[in-house]
């Protein structure tokens, strides 16, 4: 990271840019952007918290787990697959607990590691990026993103079983 920032600064300086003034202009824009996405963050985190604290998430997990087990997914992975697209901090905490309980080099531990690092917090990204511009319809955004998440769940299990 220091190398990247250094390269940007040196390049700008050599090109004769007023680096500090330019930095300030950009940083000021950063403040605006932060405030602009704050309402989106409030709405999203509030809803995710409600799903978790109401017991809805546990209920969904216990519903999904038996079905997951039938197709060979260990019941511990199913909650992670549900949590990952919605809550970044929630899924990190859950992954950590899986790694501690099963060991990081166990099959479950490996699947959890692969799954959580080959996907992003889908809903967060969609809400934050589209929250900054006001469009009513998002068309195929969410189906496409979720399809990618499903692919990641399937592949994390398959790759660990084949390669691991």
């Amino acid at each position: 990271m220091p190398a990247i920032i250094g390269a940007i600064l040196v390049f700008g300086f050599l090109k004769g840019i007023e680096v500090f003034d330019t930095f300030l202009t950009g940083a000021r824009e950063g403040i605006e952007t932060s405030f602009h996405i704050l309402p989106t963050l409030i709405g999203l985190i509030l809803a995710v918290n409600m799903v978790r604290e109401s017991g809805l998430l546990d209920m969904l997990c216990s519903l999904v787990a038996p079905a997951a087990q039938m197709i060979g997914i260990s019941p511990e992975i199913a909650p992670l697959a549900l949590l990952r697209p919605v809550s970044g901090s929630g899924s990190s905490a859950y992954t950590l607990s899986l790694l501690k309980a099963f060991g990081p080099d166990s099959e479950t531990g490996k699947i959890a590691s692969v799954l959580s690092s080959s996907t992003e917090t889908t809903f967060y990204a969609v809400a934050v990026y589209f929250g900054a511009c006001h469009y009513k319809k998002l068309y195929y955004t969410i189906p496409a993103a979720l399809l990618g998440d499903v692919a990641a769940v399937v592949l994390s299990i398959l790759t660990v079983k084949w390669l691991g």
Binding site: A27, E29, M50, A125, T141
Partner: protein, 194 residues
Amino acid sequence: MLNYIWFGMIAASVICAAATGRLEALSTAIMNGAQQAVELSFFLLGSMCAWMGFLRIAEKSGLTELLASAFSPVIDRLFPEYRKEQEIKGKICMNLSANFLGLGNAATPLGLSAMKAMAEKNSGDSPTKGMILFVVINTASIQLLPINMAAIRSSCGSMEPFGILPEIWLTSAVSLLVCVLFCKLAERGPLWNR
């Protein structure tokens, strides 16, 4: 879409909490959630401003344009409608590079700035194909070295914290491919007539 999802999440939570007698916990969750959001954005404010500042320097010095032309074979194919837009291509490149290098805190401000630039060019009231594809790519992971995960794994006593790299690369590459292919199909599909 987000309207339905958001409403669905909240309505289902309220019903679930009422049925299991957790309404008390639910009201705490609502206010805590709002507070956490403010804390998070305050926490990210510094890095957001810093990265936007560096981005501005990189743009003004022409560095992002260099980056954009270096990657233009890929970018032009993915975002054909922005073939001629050097500024937008530069911002898209900066965001994708930040993601690739695992600079998560940098990727969001850079991505927001790319979205803003694309929105300014867009006169219609629905998002462009490029905007959708850009967001979808950002919901997939394209990180080269998952350093955070390796750190977590080694703190849990892993013998080989980076031992799962091939699995991660394969999984993220295929899921990214699935996302992009789906978008490219949907762009021309009659189902999403636009």
